[in-house]
Symmetry: C2
Subunit: 894 residues, 2 copies
């Protein structure tokens, strides 16, 4: 006979923690704690297989279920004494859902099940507390009515409110037993009127109603959406746990509380928790009374006057502290415990791995590995790499008060405090005189780079997570709140209006790029520390990973940041970023508007020494680490001005006619610049531009070598689609190299960022020594999706599960990923020692990094501030690939 019900109680349990799939997280852990001898009220768990059966058979239960539940109830009765439905000495139940992972949108809990007009009297008598009994009854009716009978919650609230007015009471606590009894009667009348049936008095009907409600909630729309978004199969199903009630609200020797085995915000190995005397669980959640601390240390830290449990219930506290040690030792992770104290006796109602801050997660994992509780590799897999972002940037002092003005998108993490300015020039000017600056723009463009660079933080009113502002800010490590649509920016008036207030240039604002919040004034921040546990964890991660991690960096500051954060080279130096420097942009523009090659060469001659200096600086900083330099990529019009005012200024600066400049602008205008005259196409049609860059690169490399610097140079050609482009450009590069740095060993490779390049990878690899996957552009072309424009429909697309994740954030493995795989296979086949890396935004995304490990890339490259994330994610990917990861992730899920 199939087993549908698993009992637990009095030190014995049919299940255990490893049966999470069958019993749900709650049920499995209650069984486990029971077996550990911990004080758990007895109960039974109906398995997830019943849920599956229920939906596979037209919402009918397996035949044996009713019998098995009845047997389980008898076992509970036997352990606790009172009987379910017994009018004299009634046993009450809590009924809870329990999926493998907790799931919002599903039914959570019904307490006090088993109360009816008869048993409530028995409870009043047995407890000697009629007020408690009728309060429990009305609580039960309220929960059961709304969850099982589908009666709107406010129907109950309305009765309660009008009764309070009628009786002249203000707080629930002032209501007497008689008051509650009256309210119970009115609840019953209302239920009868709404459902055309009396409130169920049969406790079996109550129980099966509750069980059915749990199973039905598995298929409610919110739960379905959540599963779709989180890739949870509907077949998993939910379990139901029916457990004997214990009461924390039976008097002064009763309590209910929540505790963490370590401090969830710092990770410190200290007991941390709160409790309420004489209360039920829901009172803690409701937050009407201020909870007390469990430990004296906690009380001191919180500067609380209320006594700690350690003081008022020392015995219970001692037992709880023993439980803490038992559970941590057993689960090998920090636990989040729910407990109730009934008349001086401790009961455990739940344990699970506790949620924690990133800082706490790192400290707990490192300390547990150091004391031998877990292996180092397990410590590595315990940390969500993305959460490290919180540790790398200043954050707001959580204790500081704040005035929230509005929210935008959390585009680049970190907190920033500064005076606001509305143009890149103003921002730079004020930053130069030492002011902390926040740049506020409707949206940003490449011409704003110097202002973004000068600023401590960036705000935009328009644009998504992958807008120019967001991408550049993340690259620079500047906190950024993007697309804050409620901001009204008026450049002409020099004002920013939001939430009824008007701010002017120079006013103070604070932003939190991790939450997207914009606040008035200056809020104190805490600086990040990269030493201690963090450094230990990263060291372990470095030891565990196969893939190398490089950074995308152009400026000396970025290169130094990258090294500080552990980058093992530069995977992408975008030479065009150097072109935007205000000191150079006019030479660049002169080159672009030149009438002929001679004119272009004249302008390029001015740029060459500057570029050479730039490259030299990078070689010096990266001393011996690889530096991959990409030749010019963006279309030339990106370097020209667009506003009327700027066109006039630039024409004057270049000493040419305004109409001539406008003419050139019109000539260069492109319908789809992403697919236009850019990348190696510029190199093919204007050989002199790449020639200048390549001369600067080899010149700098030769200089550096003469100065004793180790140089590991990799020259990268962007946007190739064919072998022939590679051949033509390589020939020219090789010729210059032979002239300027004949003895320098170096590599010449290409970016693979077009579908055609991926398909032609075999032929291209015959010419190229390395591939770097430009997955940003490869995503744009493979999906036919412009990153700049997708914001208008991509949120809908994610909502409808067309692309479950933003494909610019996490690589689309089925589509873009297959092209990467094809290119890797064909490339390696043509050239065994082909070096393979990735330098798109995906290089810093943990899920994508897992994929790149599987595909067998040699390295990932990402923006400097994502380097630690990539290091950790790469280590996790290596561990997963080794097969060890599975065991850990099972343990961690327990």
């Amino acid at each position: 006979m199939a087993r549908w019900v698993y009992s637990f109680g009095k030190g014995k349990a049919d299940g255990n923690a490893s049966m999470r799939e069958l019993l749900g997280g709650k049920g499995a852990n209650l069984a486990e704690m029971t077996s550990l001898g911990l004080p758990v009220p007895p109960g039974l768990t109906i398995t997830t297989e019943v849920c599956t059966h229920f939906y596979a058979h037209g919402q009918n239960y397996p035949n044996e279920l009713q019998k098995q539940v009845a047997e389980g109830v008898q076992k509970i009765e036997k352990i606790v004494g009172p009987k379910f439905g017994d009018a004299k000495n009634p046993l009450l139940f809590s009924v809870r859902s329990g999926a493998r992972a907790s799931m919002p949108g599903m039914m959570d809990t019904i307490l006090n099940l088993g109360l009816n007009d008869a048993t409530v009297a028995g409870l009043a008598e047995r407890s000697g507390d009629a007020r408690f009994a009728y309060d429990s009854y009305r609580r039960f009716m309220q929960m059961y009515g709304s969850v099982v009978l589908d009666i709107a919650h406010h129907q109950f609230e309305d009765i309660l409110d009008s009764a309070k007015r009628e009786f002249g009471r203000f707080q629930d606590g002032e209501l007497t037993a008689a008051d509650w009894q009256t309210i119970c009667a009115r609840y019953k009348d209302m239920v009868q009127a709404e459902t055309k049936k009396p409130f169920p008095q049969d406790v079996q009907e109550q129980l099966w109603g509750a069980i059915g409600a749990v199973f039905k909630s598995w298929m409610n729309p919110r739960a379905i959406t959540y599963r779709k978004l989180n890739d949870i199969p509907a077949e998993w199903g939910t379990a139901v746990t029916v457990q004997a009630m214990v009461f924390g609200n039976l008097g002064g020797d009763c309590a209910t509380g929540v505790a963490f085995t370590r401090d969830p915000s710092t990770g410190e190995n200290t007991f941390y928790g709160e409790f309420l005397v004489n209360a039920q669980g829901e009172d803690v959640v409701a937050g009407i009374r201020t909870p007390q601390q469990i430990t004296v240390a906690g009380k001191t830290a919180q500067k609380s006057n209320a006594p700690a449990m350690e003081e008022v219930m020392p015995d219970v506290f001692a037992e709880l502290d023993r439980v803490r040690k038992t559970l941590e030792k057993h689960y090998r992770d920090m636990q989040d415990i729910e407990f109730t104290v009934q008349q001086g006796k401790l009961y455990l109602l739940q344990t699970r791995n506790g949620k924690r801050t990133a800082q706490a997660a790192v400290r707990i994992a490192v300390e547990m590995a150091q004391d031998g509780t877990i292996a180092r590799e397990e410590a590595i897999t315990r940390i969500n790499p993305t959460s490290l972002d919180q540790l790398l940037h200043p954050r707001l002092d959580p204790a500081a008060p704040r005035e929230l003005l509005t929210r935008g998108l959390p585009a680049s993490p970190g907190a920033a405090v500064g005076r606001i300015y509305f143009s890149a020039d103003d921002a730079e000017h004020h930053a130069n005189v030492g002011e902390p600056v926040i740049l506020c723009r409707i949206e940003t463009s490449p011409e704003d780079i110097h202002g973004m660079y000068a600023a401590k933080g960036i705000i935009t009113a328009r644009g998504g997570m992958t807008s120019h502002a967001a991408v550049v800010a993340r690259g620079m490590g500047r906190p950024c709140v993007a697309g804050a649509g409620e901001l009204h920016l008026d450049y002409a008036a020099g004002t920013l209006k939001v939430a009824g207030q008007t701010f002017r240039a120079g006013d103070w604002l604070t932003i939190d790029g991790a939450s997207g919040e914009i606040m008035a004034g200056q809020i104190p921040t805490l600086e990040p520390t990269l030493s201690g546990d963090f450094a230990t964890l990263m060291e372990w991660a470095d030891g565990a990973r196969r893939m190398r991690v490089r950074a995308n960096a152009e400026t000396p500051v970025d290169a130094e940041t990258a090294r500080r954060l552990g980058a093992e080279g530069i995977g992408l130096c975008r030479t065009e970023h150097m072109f935007f420097d205000p000191l150079r942009i006019n030479a660049v523009r002169e080159m672009i508007v030149a009438e002929d090659e001679k004119g272009r060469r004249r302008a390029l001659d001015k740029l060459r020494p500057m570029q050479q200096q730039d490259f030299r600086a990078l070689f010096d900083i990266m001393d011996g680490l690889p530096v991959t330099i990409r030749l010019l990529d963006p279309p030339l019009h990106e370097f020209l001005p667009h506003s009327e005012k700027e066109i006039t200024e630039v024409a004057a600066a270049l000493g040419i006619d305004r109409p001539a400049l406008e003419q050139r602008l019109m000539q260069l205008h492109e319908a789809n610049p992403m697919l236009g005259h850019r990348g190696c196409r510029l190199g093919i049609t204007y050989p002199e531009i790449y020639e200048m860059q390549v001369e600067a690169i080899y010149g700098a490399a030769a200089d550096a070598v003469r100065a004793g610097v180790k140089v590991k140079l990799e020259i990268m050609i962007p946007l190739v689609a064919t072998q022939r482009e590679t051949v033509l450009l390589k020939e020219r590069i090789v010729a210059i190299g032979a002239r300027l740095a004949p003895d320098l060993p170096h590599l010449i490779g290409v970016m693979i960022e077009l579908p055609r390049a991926a398909l032609a990878a075999g032929e291209i690899a015959a010419e190229a020594q390395f591939f770097s996957f430009g997955t940003n552009d490869l995503t744009q072309t493979t999906l036919g999706l412009s990153r700049d424009d997708a914001g208008r429909f991509l949120p809908d697309y994610q909502r409808m599960n067309i692309y479950p994740k933003d494909p610019f954030v996490s690589i689309d493995q089925a589509g873009v990923g297959e092209l990467v795989q094809i290119a890797v296979d064909r490339g390696r086949k043509a050239r065994k020692d082909l070096k393979l890396g990735v330098c798109g935004e995906h290089g810093g995304d943990p899920d994508s990094i897992q994929f790149f490990e599987k595909v067998g890339l040699d390295y990932v490259s990402c923006s400097p501030y994502r380097v630690p994330i990539a290091r950790l994610a790469a280590a996790q990917a290596s561990i997963a690939a080794s097969g060890k990861g599975k065991a850990f992730s099972k343990a961690a899920a327990a």
Copy 2:
């Protein structure tokens, strides 16, 4: 011993016509004609393998070559009598190159080789014509000097010109024997001065110099470039033919000429040719004297006064006419013959398949098949499908005089005569009152469609072969000259200036879209005939092909044209073209600027009946043939106005604020519209738009069926990238179909136009009943190449052989083609009866059609005027696939 030399002469030859690869086209056919017993001067051919050996061995010849050449020369001497280098009775040679295919840029011919100071005297004596002898000597020195000795041509011309001045002669014909002798002496002095060596007097040195010059010319830059562009491997090499000279310039019984076995311009089975009495081949080319006709019929047709060869040399003519019959029977194709008559005796110097007009090609192939000379399938393979374009459109009367103003790109074939107008509205207005109109624009945009439609022809000053004007014009079958850069259009002044003239609105111009010419005034045109031989050929082609051919059409006129030209259905009805209709565009705009769904629905309600009418008309015309209707594809901003003036007008027409309209325009602006909010993405985010279209489609289909029309409906979803998009949209379409036309059998499919869709084809085919490859967009995304922008660098890319052909004209088989192949494989695996077609521009390109046949598509769809081309190309592809094609193409190349 390897054989490097093949002799021919006196009815015997070592080689034959099938040895084209070894002997070159010329050498092989000379051998063949010799074996046929035709009068060919004897000679020898040095094989292409010598050329290969020459380059493989540091420009040295094989050891045995000299001996074999000497033996060949002796054979010739034995046949003709005179000896090579004999001062008394000298044998002279012509030396010619001969590759498999004739190749511009290579050395062509040296005549009269073997003349020196001694032999020239012998020639004078033997011929009794000293003037002839010294004229021949100086011609030889001139050719040899420039080709072998690398002396600039003008050096000889200068001497000749100053001698003529000195002697008081004006025409070459006036120079005497003594004059030519003087000139020969001056030539020799000049050669001595230039080369520091005397002009070679040793005839062997002359011969080997000429042979070497041929081989060296194989590797000159022009020849290399030509080979690269035409995919001819350098290993092929060239042959050299050395042949005994015969002279057409030895008196009144001598002549030289060229003849075609059928009329190369009409294809009529009549002898056609021209000759010059007393002349050498180069005189015919030089065009100083007007040649005479060969036949009396030709003389009459040309209204010539000069007597025909049939009259003045009846015996020679009779022999030539016998040769004509022999060669046609032998080669089974129309031949182009070169001949010389020396003292009443006919000699043949070359035969090859004759070039012909498209009209002639069709007639010749059909007639040869009808009289059993060739098989029908061979007739089909003989016609270049692209050449049919010339037969489908009116063409200029070739006899009419014309005044050429300028040239642009031949963007859409056909001749058009009309009055010019500078705006779409004016063009439409004047066309409506019955004027033939030519629309002249700097460039066109979707807003000009109605004007283009109303016009007889279109001219633009800017844009390439794939510009909007070119693509739309080809689609509509309107002749178009695009990118005529010399035109100065001034809309404000209402003038078009070109070639020093000024034209105003209403003035007449004539254009030839096949040549790109723009002419002043009205030039008479000839209408195309689609009957007769053309119809016969197409009927044969239809019988031979496997793939179906459909047309891209939206309007009733296009649909009717498509049927008339043989389309077997509509493969692409672009519903958005219907949106641009002036009567509808405002409802479309109202829909776009609507604030909410309700507003959009209000506007869509106006459009629904109009769209329904459109679809109904198509169903009626295509009665029973499949009609594939694509749901809305372009981004919404394409329907909004862009110029200041239009914005004001449209705002007024819609009754909204100008700023509101501008705001909406700004919201809808896209950085890369090609990759933006378009295609099924519109259907996903604005369900009501597709809903309206689908209602109109099913409504029209149901109406048509009720009226007794057969409807074969296929609804097509554009720009899908994922299975999920297909699922979501299909659900909605199916629901509407079930409501409006429940019993109508029909298909729902998708366009495959993104790389991701090709990769996900298996999953998508599980939902879609057909795929139509949108290879235009698939090319744009796979290659990362915007069709609108590529004009700036694609010509360079073609020149450098990066893309040998414009990938928007002929599919990039290696890249885009592989994705098509992947999609076909995966799609068919998932759904056996998946219907596969293509509806991009490539659907009308013969090379691409060959590819689609190989991949196994079910049909191609192209613009109506390309339907006959596609029918023929599909037939050729079928024949090639059957393996028969190979035999034919070998024969045709002979």
